[in-house]
Symmetry: C2
């Protein structure tokens, strides 16, 4: 059975996000799934996603952490209610704040692995702790505070 990513459940009109919208042809289209108690996305930067020669642009890493954070928040909200994505009412989150610590230069070339852990779910807010790895080495850490959109925006 193929596991659908959380982004595959977003309503069409909310699927144009540059970072994770499946309908944005120019975007990154990241896909976020559960991997045990962690969430996982993968992304292979393009050669033009460069910072300095040989390394990935930090703004791209921030973008990946951002969208992985909102995807993690949505996955966590469904699991927290004991129901599957695709059931009603839908969850969709926006980012309230984003923190990124760049621990080491991220090599440009290999696929990046973005992993999230849910740190807190409280009311309409989900906080996640995120790592970005290349070749198995964590090069950046992030923290995303995501807030649930008003229901009227996700219908």
């Amino acid at each position: 059975m193929e596991i659908k990513a959380i982004q595959d459940y977003y309503p069409d009109q909310l699927s144009y996000c540059f970072g994770c919208g499946r309908l944005n042809e120019k975007g990154h289209q990241i896909k976020t799934v559960w991997d045990g108690d962690e969430t996982l996305s993968r992304f292979t930067p393009q050669p033009y996603h460069i910072a300095i020669p040989g390394y990935v642009y930090g703004g791209l890493i921030a973008s990946l952490i951002d969208c992985h954070g909102t995807g993690t928040a949505a996955l966590a909200a469904y699991r927290n209610e004991g129901r599957e994505p695709g059931t009603e009412p839908p969850f969709r989150f926006v980012t309230a704040s984003l923190q990124v610590d760049y621990l080491a230069p991220t090599p440009l070339g290999p696929e990046l692995e973005i992993r999230g852990k849910v740190a807190e779910i409280k009311g309409r807010k989900v906080i996640s702790e995120i790592t970005v790895s290349a070749n198995g080495v964590v090069t950046a850490r992030g923290r995303v505070v995501a807030v649930q959109m008003p229901e009227k925006m996700v219908e």
Copy 2:
């Protein structure tokens, strides 16, 4: 007299950054200048830089803050030494950490104004406080800790 942006002084091999490299044809190519005691960049998002309909993708805002922060750091480092960009030795910074608070959705369409203030210069580190505005309204605030690259990387 046309004022050159700090990015116009970066050595060619360090001018491919996706956010601010003047030689990256696919990148944002932001340009950062002094405006009194503040630093200023401008950027007009493309229609595909969307988050939800009508609003700018938060990852792009993080990217703009990131590069505006490293540009601000370089401008501040020269001014702190009482010399002009283009004089030797060159300064070039990378991001150590990035914090973004999204205060309100940023409307997609108008040019964004990114302004920075130098909060601290200490050794090889420059911390800047940054705002992003659309139509004169601040929609995001950021804080960038930038660290000077080793000299051997900027020659």
